[in-house]
Symmetry: C2
Subunit: 379 residues, 2 copies
């Protein structure tokens, strides 16, 4: 059996930024670091660069492994690599941890140089447009004046969309997957329950739990359990877990009774140990605030009329977090703005999580589109 | 202007049960009390009695007011009263607080006669079939050998369904509204997040918070906020709140930013002060365990073949907690079991909560069906 080709061993790099950045909130961050990874080689005219933007709990480690024993490849390893849809034989792919993250880039758990303590509650909120600004600075640093494509799923798709509006000259293609032009009231409501779980955890200490040698594990666990429900489809969950009992019989207590409870609690527990609660809060707020039409009199067509990129918009049938209808809002606005757009609605049972999965029709669409880009830049 | 007729002032009654009850869990409760209300008059042959079963956070106070200044009528006051769809000029309507409740019937917050302290963690789990057993005992006490109808929405509909299977001779009609034959994995998942919020609240004290002079408010608040999202439709929430900002401008903080946050937090805060957390846990477990097909080799048709009642099943288009598809499962099984069933799918934007609302087409269907029952029993 031939193993699938992979990008193999990778390692992260760090870019240090001394020029201050004024964030959307008005706060100025005088210094920050971004951790990133690159896969493939930048060509001579720097025309083959791809930026991959991550979603809520993602990071810069999009592909490859850190050691030969590493059992967990990057979060989009099925998508990115030699011969894969985002082909590293052709493209130079950048994954970065967004500002405010908890995987190496400056964020709430980083040491604040002004105090020698973790930022905690002192770390400002960061919006999608702020991420795009820091991503642009990283591109400048790497000598990339125009990305062949900016690609993202979910919150990552919002970054791609923002790129196309704010820096139209700097991206040729914009791939927006399982995303939305803004959150609905229901989306915000779910985010607020997750936030309230964290904010009201007695171990949260107003965001300064680091100094108390504790973590708001209970709150973050609940937030993740809840999030997880919204990432899966009702049907997919039903097929995977149904009403399967852990022990075969009702136990009439509050321990795990159904397999779905075991799964969710395990996911929550695991996440609460490794993810930073302040980063989680910040990411959910970036989602809530994202609304590119807002500064265009709530006219998405006007906002997207700024764009010069060509678009691929992808949605998944059972995604109820960002349903196909939300992707169609983007497509409709792009068409009204007379932009070039392709749209694919993929049959899937995996809900919102489908964008992370290795599904042949989905990957075929991505592969075809990326090959078209590769041909364009080779001309 | 003529005020709508109302049942007017009502008061609760209490029934004391000294005969022990063996619950589904195997636990024996030697003594319990049920608080209930009745509206209208029981006729000479006791053929006009209607049992109204409540949902998760409901109680016995289904209609009328407790005083002339009382601003909050019973939870189904629009449905029950003189000239209303469940017409108290024709029917004798009983609402009761289920065993395990927190509005007067024996439950976790009641004093355990054995200890002189609130039951707390010592109170057993109570299942839908246990409620039906206690409701039957109340019917016996009131001299009702057959209900003209047992009616319920959501968890209340499950009680009606259980009545039809367990005591087929004792109900003529079964009205199952916005309900389901059992929970899906997703339903259970939402319930478990709500339970984990309560169980992990440091103020929960293993269920014995009464002795600690505290309440697990944080957990119960989160549970209610989450529940509330699932009671409303995405569209309904969007129409009512959209992305409306509290102050008109982004504040970049964790205080209320969007109106939907304000609404949910308020609902959560209010509920956490008045509802008992142990009762909430117990009610969600009753939902999870409900599965009448389970003892019929998972064959709902076989389970419903026990029934002798005629059925009305009602669902609401935007209800995603118990969608129309779930009601259709019941209808399909009833038809396969050769039972008489009418089905109505009501166009509504109010999601699951629609069953509580005063919607003319919905009320017309209920009214017509109840008038048919009234004619039957008058013959």
């Amino acid at each position: 059996m031939q193993l699938p080709r992979s990008i193999g061993l990778v390692s992260a790099q760090k870019a240090v930024f001394d020029e201050p950045i004024t964030l959307s909130s008005g706060t100025i961050l005088p210094y920050y670091e971004l951790v990133y990874e690159t896969y493939g080689k930048l060509n001579a005219d720097a025309s083959n660069a791809i930026l991959v933007c991550h979603a809520l709990s993602g990071n810069h480690h999009a592909a490859g492994r850190y050691s030969v024993d590493d059992k967990n490849p990057g979060w989009w390893d099925t998508m990115i690599g030699p011969g894969k849809p985002i082909d590293t034989d052709k493209f130079f792919v950048i994954g970065l941890n967004n500002l405010g993250g908890c995987h190496g880039s400056t964020g709430p758990s980083s040491i604040n140089p002004a105090t020698g303590q973790p930022y905690g509650s002192a770390f400002p909120l960061v919006l999608v447009r702020d991420w795009v600004e820091t991503q642009k600075r990283l591109a400048d640093r790497l000598g990339i004046t125009q990305f062949a494509a900016v690609i993202g799923g979910s919150l990552g798709g919002m970054q791609a969309l923002r790129w196309s509006i704010t820096h139209p000259e700097r991206i040729r293609h914009c791939l927006v997957i399982a995303s939305a032009p803004k959150l609905t009231a229901q989306n915000i409501a779910f985010n607020d329950v997750a936030r309230q779980a964290i904010l009201t955890d007695p171990d949260f200490h107003g965001g300064d739990y680091y100094q108390h040698n504790t973590l708001p594990r209970r709150g973050l666990r609940l937030a993740r359990m809840l999030g997880h429900i919204t990432y899966l489809s009702d049907d997919g969950m039903g097929e995977k877990f149904g009403r399967l009992l852990r022990s075969g019989e009702y136990k009439y207590g509050f321990e795990v009774e159904f397999e779905i409870e075991s799964y969710l609690r395990y996911q929550g527990d695991k996440f609460a140990e490794v993810f930073d609660a302040n980063t989680y809060l910040l990411m959910t707020k970036a989602l809530d605030y994202f609304d590119p039409a807002r500064h265009y009199n709530n006219d998405l067509v006007a906002a997207l009329s700024e764009a010069k990129a060509q678009f691929l918009v992808v949605s998944f049938t059972t995604d109820w977090r960002f349903s196909p209808a939300r992707s169609k809002e983007i497509v409709k606005a792009l068409l009204a703005a007379k932009r070039q757009v392709s749209y694919a609605e993929i049959e899937s049972e995996h809900g919102h999580d489908a964008f992370l999965m290795e599904d042949p029709p989905y990957h075929a669409i991505m592969r075809n589109y990326m090959q078209r880009i590769a041909k364009e830049i080779a001309q």
